[in-house]
């Protein structure tokens, strides 16, 4: 199978990769670029652990082909903090006790980030709806929802 040369913009940095056209963004991030913060599980867009931002939209990277990401902007969990300064959502997830095993957390945070961009002052029910595509088996979602509500209360400029 032939390979394609691609330039991908991930977390503001440009990466040149050579990949077969069938390979997913998730696979390329994790295998070729060592960005394992985007997690792998069902590979069928059922669980949401691979959620990241593609042009600001939350998508499941397991069903996006790397070649579809040409000339587009990808943000992964590794790109959310500014230096040592955690993003308000990351801070809120720690402060609310929303992190247990943590495997769903990168996807949760990015799904929440995309939703708060769309609706900066959500109700709890709206947050639950927005996160319904992301499975978590540790927390019962409560402290995750609390964390997102807490972050939504942060100054808008910080988001």
């Amino acid at each position: 199978m032939g390979k394609l040369a691609l330039s991908l913009t991930i977390n503001g940095e440009s990466h040149d990769v050579l990949v077969e056209p069938h390979r997913t963004l998730l696979d390329v991030l994790r295998t070729d670029l060592g960005l394992t913060g985007t997690k792998e599980n069902c590979l069928d867009a059922e669980c949401g652990v691979c959620t990241l931002l593609l042009d600001g939209m939350a998508v499941n990277a397991c069903i996006v082909l790397a070649v579809q990401c040409r000339d587009r902007t990808v943000v992964t969990i590794e790109g959310l903090a500014v230096g040592a300064e955690l993003h308000p959502l990351q801070r809120a997830f720690i402060d609310a006790g929303a992190v247990q095993c943590g495997y769903c957390i990168p996807g949760m945070i990015l799904a929440a980030r995309a939703y708060l961009d769309e609706n900066p002052t959500p109700s709890e029910a709206e947050v639950r709806e927005a996160l319904a595509g992301n499975l978590c088996r540790c927390t019962g979602y409560q402290k995750i929802v609390d964390a997102v509500m807490r972050a939504a209360g942060a100054p808008a400029a910080a988001r």
């Binding site: 792998e40 590979l43 669980c47 959310l80 720690i94 095993c101 709806e129 088996r137």
Partner: protein
């Protein structure tokens, strides 16, 4: 109790920053240069004679580096209590999902192509699809050679029964004779999956000295080490198991899952090999919760005293014994419930069928037995015109009374749990509106024993390294243990770094199972601090020229208050490094044995609940009269945690455990048809999402354990026990319809409502 600085506070878990920034590495993330991709070929047939397996075409697929079948591995049977398992099926296939072959290739695509190229000929046999099938007269044996397998001598095995555990107390027949009323019911539960979001994953690599290192997300690195030693036929010292990070376990990552395939393929290829499960493999060939049938016969007086119970619980353990014999034992303690019943005959069976080897899921046996016991408690209360809460309060065990096997119960917080949860839910108004009702359920559970060791080292900057063999599986148990360490040593939590779960370098630990990690590792930390105190006080006395008796350890220093002298831990560590090899202590803990009456038990591998916890759940819900759909308005848990080491993460355990329990109660089921799973994906296997789980209210009750650190009891498993019973009782309260099987789907409720109308 004197005021504490660190324990009892909701401090953030130590590993949170890595987890929210994506830098924490899990086994699924672990990779080595040049690593091959391993995949497993699994049987499509639930039962049959394996006539032939031809891998020659697969071996020629481009990129394939190894193909293994039973012919390529040592003919050993392994397993915990019964050695009945084999790496690959050799001449008989016993479940759909059983491994037949494994391949390693340079890409996942090549591995998949190779799997498809393996030719398998199976002569199908009729599958034994459930316990009823397996126990029928003249049923074929799942293991014809069962009697020849090595097994724990204590087990009572017979054909398709790989253990029958029994508790006998008093004379159950006499109890029934004395009873005014006798109630007999049957309950059925289905299999549910742990649902961890990180698949089981392992990377294996052999070195030139013949040692294999396996990076795995197991909960029990030391058990995996010994199992791999058996399978690979190498000394245990040649197997090193390292746990990089675990994305949830809930009991599903106790037993060997993919580690052996990775190790065998790595040995064959001389390369590092990674094996990770698919969702389909998880739902067809993992260690999900056992389906169960429970029969309860309970005798009571008209004024509501429990007199006698005969209870039997049959677990479908699947094609291998695995955790089954132990879980069947625990079930008998759960069938007694947290009640005083003078006459008991309780039996738990683990029964072979042609299904996956069901295993240990958070509070194994708990939800199945509790669903039956607590449903029947409500049925009896209704029949006797008693309030279900009053009926329970009349019969619950109390301080100093005996458990079913004669253990003396202490720190029994059950009455407080029941009263608090009832108050919180507004129990006096049990049926606030048509179609709306409240339910209550209570139970007890163990804090598993087993030993733990830690090394605690004081660094030259005064920070502290905690080296433990336990894995952090997400519960924050190691943060809890570190809080104990910081408290006792007089340092801050931020001063502690944790190194964990490497069988080569960390001390032994019985593992992250049975709600024991914070409890046992915390106590081992206390022992280590006691030793370190002796060391630093001896060193400090020499250094400061004062008597040892004048010194105390306080705020990260040894201090002689009268003399006004002080040496910090950092200074003492530096002095020790220059002169005495550094400050380090080996702390150990093993739960003291809990005395019981051995004459009451047979075939029992778990006769007592150590430092038992007690809990009550209450739920307020509505049932849609047309669709049968359940909507939960409120869910309240009161749990006796002994001492709340870190309230935030205890709430987290309660919230997560209830959510998981509500899945089993309402929506989750691995659906089997003639031995094959019909819903092996995460769309059709219905785990609760953020819109399905209600806000869960936690009340932490604290009756300190005599053994646990600062009085703590195990907290992780209990919240998973009561949700099915609480929901079933509330549905009955709301509708008058009693559902005796799980899950309580909308369809099932709607059909029951229609049935009643006819």
């Amino acid at each position: 109790m004197t005021a504490t600085r660190i324990v009892g506070r909701s401090l953030p878990r130590m590993d949170a920053p890595g987890k929210v920034t994506g830098t924490a590495i899990y086994a699924a993330d672990f990779a080595l240069p040049g690593m091959l991709h391993g995949r497993v070929l699994r049987s499509r047939d639930p039962h049959g004679r394996l006539v032939q397996i031809d891998a020659s075409r697969a071996a020629r697929v481009r990129g394939v580096r190894a193909v293994l079948t039973a012919a390529d591995v040592a003919d050993v049977r392994y397993g915990g209590s019964v050695k009945d398992e084999e790496v690959f099926a050799r001449d008989r296939v016993r479940f759909a999902g059983q491994p037949l072959a494994a391949v390693a290739a340079t890409s996942p695509e090549a591995a998949a192509e190779a799997l498809a190229a393996i030719e398998v000929a199976v002569e199908p046999l009729p599958p034994i699809v459930d316990v009823t099938d397996a126990l029928a007269a003249g049923a074929p044996l799942v293991h014809e050679g069962w009697a020849s397998y090595a097994a724990l001598p204590i087990l009572h095995r017979d054909g398709n029964v790989c253990n029958r555990a029994r508790i006998v107390v008093g004379d159950v027949e006499r109890g029934f004779e004395e009873a005014d009323r006798i109630f007999e019911h049957r309950f059925v539960t289905r299999s549910v999956h742990q649902g961890y979001t990180e698949p089981r994953a392992a990377v294996a690599q052999w070195d030139s000295a013949g040692q294999v290192t396996v990076w795995s997300n197991t909960q029990l690195p030391f058990e995996i080490q010994s199992t791999l030693s058996e399978i690979l036929q190498v000394p245990v010292s040649k197997v090193r198991v390292v746990v990089p990070g675990v994305g949830g376990g809930f009991g599903g990552k106790l037993r060997v899952g993919v580690e052996h395939f990775a190790a065998l393929l790595a040995r064959k290829t001389g390369r590092a090999v990674k094996v990770m499960t698919t969702s389909e493999e998880e739902l067809t060939a993992a260690y999900a919760r056992q389906p169960a049938i429970v029969e309860l016969k309970t005798g009571v007086t008209t004024d509501g005293r429990l007199l006698a119970r005969e209870g039997r619980l049959w677990f479908d353990t699947g094609a291998f014994a695995g955790s089954g014999p132990g879980v069947a034992s625990v079930a008998t303690l759960m069938l007694a419930g947290p009640y005083r019943i003078p006459h008991l005959l309780l039996e738990g069976y683990a029964v072979y069928t042609n299904k996956t080897n069901f295993g240990s899921f958070r509070a194994p046996s708990g939800p199945q037995a509790n669903f039956a016991v607590e449903s029947q408690m409500d049925i009896i209360a209704d029949a006797l015109h008693l309030d279900p809460l009053d009926f329970r309060l009349r019969n619950i065990v109390r301080e100093g009374e005996e458990g079913p096997t004669g253990q003396v119960l202490t720190a029994v917080g059950l009455e407080e749990c029941l009263r608090k949860v009832a108050d919180a839910i507004g129990w006096k108004d049990r049926r606030p509106a048509p179609g709306r009702g409240k339910g209550i359920a209570c139970g007890w559970w163990t804090t598993t024993g087993g030993s733990s060791g830690v090394y605690v080292k004081i660094n030259p900057d005064g920070t502290v390294a905690l080296n433990t063999g336990a894995a952090e599986i997400g519960t924050a148990a190691l943060t809890g243990a570190a809080q104990v360490l910081a408290e006792d040593l007089g340092v801050e939590l931020a001063d502690i770094n944790v190194v964990s779960a490497d069988t080569l370098s960390t001390p032994f630990d019985f593992g992250a199972q049975g709600s024991r990690t914070a409890f046992a590792v915390g106590n081992a930390c206390r022992a280590a601090v006691a030793d370190l105190k002796r060391q630093v006080i001896a060193l400090g006395a020499r250094q400061l020229g004062v008597d040892e008796s004048a010194l105390e350890l306080r705020d990260g220093a040894v201090v002689a208050p009268a003399e006004g002298k002080r040496a910090t831990l950092a200074e003492l560590a530096r002095i020790s490094q220059a002169s005495g090899g550094g400050l380090i202590a080996h702390g150990t803990f093993v739960a003291p044995p809990t005395p019981y009456d051995a004459k009451r038990v047979e075939g029992h591998v778990y006769p007592v609940f150590h430092s038992p916890s007690f809990h009550a759940h209450a739920v307020d819900l509505s049932v849609d009269a047309d669709t049968g759909e359940v909507t939960i308005h409120r869910y309240v848990v009161a749990q006796d945690v002994g001492f709340a080491m870190n309230p935030t993460y205890i709430e987290g355990q309660i919230e997560g455990g209830v959510a998981q329990g509500l899945g089993q109660a309402l929506s989750e089921e691995i659906v089997y048809d003639a031995g094959r799973v019909l819903n092996a994906n995460l769309t059709d296997y219905k785990m609760p999402t953020a819109v399905d789980v209600p806000r869960i209210e936690s009340i932490l009750v604290q009756h300190p354990s005599l053994v646990g650190p600062f009085g703590a009891k195990g907290v992780g498993e209990p919240p998973n026990i009561e949700p099915p019973a609480a929901v079933a009782n509330a549905v009955a309260s709301a509708t008058g319809v009693r559902i005796t099987s799980l899950p309580i789907t909308a369809e099932k409720v709607a059909l029951a409502l229609r049935e009643r109308e006819r």
